[in-house]
Subunit: 362 residues, 2 copies
């Protein structure tokens, strides 16, 4: 494909600002020469960082602003005083059509709040979600929601399933991605009411653009049991951070173990090629970033503390989603799904209550 | 200490029954010669397994029953037909005072249901919880609830804090264990209403037998940020299984990485002492078992698929909790806590609603 796409960047976001964002964009441009950029932030710092990257300079337009949202700013405050900031402008560029996607390494809560206000949720979607790419023993899967909201009704969990499937189609190039609902067991009687109702709902609607696989448990995420894992944001965020913490913990063990004796140290030295393979597998920069799904536009959140390599992964992800026509396809999917839901409700098969939960089964 | 204690075992529980339970008990007896056992199950199979363990034979009484709860039996069915089974009898031995603790590797849901019925929740405790020992880079911590219930009110989360602290006192020998509430962020505004209300409640009550540290995130569990991590059972179960899955996933990566080249293989061979240290750190058998907290007696659940080494860890845990006088101390703690809560409510400082949630702050 490699169609020309424009990505708008919050050049000031994250712990390092332009010093990471600019080299990251340059790296992504090397991989995708069809890219161009809108760089939003303090022009002098952006210009300084661009000096070392003439190819990127030639493909970029700088939009100057002095206003920057702090990493610890509350979403409500960011909404009040953030208009015209380096985080706000990229989202407006997406809205106006100038850019195909926005990327920021800034404060997640602020970015979500501003993105919701500027891009607006898609028709029929009550709640956008944050989706994370999660490494598995097979390759990668998508987990959502990892923290946009606390709690989700059955209807919202079903929406998340379609949103995650659309993203899987865009980034994994699978036409009918498999989807599982994260639960505390795989039997039908397990879980809370919302999860059980979402299960009935997903089973009962025909011709969904995904393959619904039922419940999955926490240990099946990393096994790659499904392409998309759906969960409400409280448990999803805890799962994501617990997995990150466990990986870090095992790295600590591994370092200690490999220096526990002189012979182990020699062995570790010889095995360093193997350890490099392991580090690459476990490298959080490779799957950097969360994606906001369910808005009328693409917005990707990069980790605040990442380096240029990690930021480039987030830009790559934004490009892939834009290039695949994710938004148009997801809009059509959601339309079809809600249409089928309403038809079922009219036929008395699948009434929905006011919270969007399925109350019956077909 | 090493006071004489009797542990009642479900000899038929788990994937292997007496062939794992008996050698496991024998291993634990070697470490704690003051132990004696009540072995419940099919006498011929128990006798056959005991033949190789004369020391254990001498310290055991066998209670024969042919009735066994299947690993996939529903809790409701286990309650209906389980009386007199190898899972039920050990709990009755605890209730009657013949045994100081019960251990089963059987079906978790059935064991929880029967334990609740036979031992009954402690006065003032609405819901027992399942606590897991969780390895950290420092040593271990306790996480509860990992799946006894779905959801928890603020009052129940506060009860879990006291229950976990009592267990930490028993097994880690820390007089004032540190406690954190698992949440999606550490700022006060984060989380759902129950978690926020539990936070206010724990901050507002003085002289708790624990040190309340506020919110912790998923990645802080394995860092050993606190001795006790409190969470409702849905997110807690997902966190536990996600961590187990991540550890398994990294083992897979590590094996693949260490066989990725001949030099890596030689290095891995030389480093095998180091890998042994790592395997021991990551060995799930060392922290085998969940503990039911909040009942009038000690019941420990061993993993169903564990081996004798793992089952022995579960017996060790049961012994330590019995030996430390956990139940008496926890009963006193809960009494004091609920008394202070009521006093605060009467004084109009800390009203509780009907669900046990704190509505105000002191």
């Amino acid at each position: 494909m490699a169609s020309p796409k424009t990505i708008a960047l919050d050049a000031m976001g994250g712990d390092h600002g332009p010093e990471v964002v600019i080299p990251g964009a340059a790296l992504s441009l090397e991989r995708q020469p069809a890219l161009s950029f809108v760089l939003c932030g303090q022009q002098p710092r952006i210009e300084a960082a661009l000096a070392a990257h003439p190819a990127l300079r030639a493909k970029s337009r700088i939009v100057h602003t002095d206003l920057v949202i702090a990493m610890d700013e509350k979403p409500s405050q960011a909404l009040r005083r953030g208009k015209g900031s380096s985080m706000w402008l990229p989202l407006e560029a997406v809205k106006s059509g100038e850019a195909d996607a926005a990327v920021s390494a800034g404060n997640t809560g602020a970015l979500m709040a501003i993105a919701k206000l500027v891009l607006r949720p898609m028709a029929g979607i009550e709640r956008p979600a944050i989706a994370a790419l999660w490494p598995t023993v097979k390759s990668e899967c998508i987990v959502l929601d990892v923290g946009a909201n606390i709690g989700a009704t059955a209807g919202q969990l079903a929406d998340f399933s379609l949103m995650g499937a659309a993203m899987a189609r865009a980034v994994f190039h699978i036409e009918r991605p498999s989807v599982g609902l994260l639960n505390v067991g795989t039997e039908e009687m397990k879980g809370n009411e919302d999860v059980k109702a979402a299960h009935s709902l997903l089973k009962s609607i025909d011709a969904l653009p995904l393959e619904y696989k039922g419940f999955v448990e926490g240990d099946q995420i990393g096994q790659g049991a499904v392409d998309v894992v759906v969960v409400e944001g409280f448990a999803g965020n805890i799962a994501l951070k617990t997995a990150e913490g466990t990986a870090k913990q095992i790295s600590t063990y591994l370092r200690a173990a490999m220096t526990s004796s002189v012979v182990s140290k020699i062995g570790a030295f010889l095995a360093q090629g193997g350890f490099r393979v392991l580090r690459e597998k476990m490298d959080p920069r490779r799957v950097n970033g969360g994606t906001f799904l369910g808005l009328n536009g693409i917005a990707v959140k990069s980790h605040g503390g990442t380096d240029a390599f990690g930021f480039a992964s987030a830009v790559d992800l934004a490009y892939e989603m834009a290039d695949s026509g994710l938004i148009a396809r997801l809009t059509a999917d959601m339309d079809g799904f809600h249409h089928r839901l309403s038809a079922a409700a009219v036929a008395g098969q699948q009434p929905r209550d006011s919270t969007g939960s399925a109350l019956g089964k077909a």
